[in-house]
């Protein structure tokens, strides 16, 4: 595969996603329960995570994954808890913007920010979505084992 081509698509698509995310967070500033804005930020974070993981951009994957997990919790709650949590989302956005800018301008992947990813995921002191899975064998297993765990369903389908 021509990964240079995909790097360019990643930069273009991520930049668009981050602009949409920024606009949605500004809407959330006015209404912490704006469901459309919550869904959009979730989808954008999810999409950036998928692209970054495909390019093995671990630091971007880590932060976007943290932001996606946080947005998943916010979707379940139906609203951003408070301005402090909104500030955390803006911090995640700023971090992703600077990382994508670094890739665009220098071609280099910036170092990871595990502290931010952790605080995005754990601030509410709730179990992560994976830990909360009804079937820990499926949630924590590597690809092959996960497929095996789902195989009775696949066979039945």
């Amino acid at each position: 595969m021509d990964m240079a081509k995909y790097r360019q698509v990643f930069i273009e698509e991520s930049t668009e996603h981050l602009a949409e995310m920024s606009s949605a967070l500004l809407r959330l500033e006015k209404n912490l329960a704006d469901h459309d804005a919550i869904d959009l930020v979730f989808r954008m974070a999810h999409s950036i995570k998928g692209m970054a993981a495909s390019l093995e951009y671990d630091s971007i994957t880590q932060v976007s994954h943290g932001l996606e997990d946080r947005m998943q919790e916010i979707r379940k709650a139906g609203r951003v808890a408070d301005p402090e949590e909104l500030g955390l989302l803006f911090r995640g956005l700023d971090c992703l913007e600077s990382m994508v800018t670094a890739v665009r301008t220098t071609g280099q992947l910036p170092p990871p920010d595990p502290a931010l990813a952790a605080v995005l995921t754990n601030r509410l002191d709730q179990p992560s979505p994976q830990a909360a899975s009804p079937d820990p064998a499926v949630a924590s297993a590597p690809d092959a084992a996960k497929k095996k765990a789902l195989s009775p369903i696949l066979a039945g389908g």
């Binding site: 698509v9 899975s133 009804p134 765990a149």
Partner: protein, 122 residues
Amino acid sequence: MARILVADDASFMRQMIREIVESEGFEVCGEASDGVEAVDEFKRLQPDVVTMDIVMPRKSGIDAVRGIIALDPTACVVMCSALGQETLVTEAIQAGARDFIVKPFKPDAVIETLKKVLEKED
């Protein structure tokens, strides 16, 4: 030659799947960037297989599977999932999806899964 409809809101992912499947001789007969378009394009193109992202605007991939299966109970849909989406994959399989592939895509795994579901079709 099998005809494939690729549904994903990310152009990046659509291009990647297209490159993987075309390298194996499959034809990408169409693309959709959300769940509503996926159902519409399925109706119009009648592909052999649909690769379906889960998280999409307007209509989720799971609801799009339900829409497609309602149109054609024999339709062949393969979900594109990410780590942490096991519950959603299970829901999609129960809605009628045949199998799933995991992002980031491994070309060999994508081809193997598509061949497997197509063999079952035959």
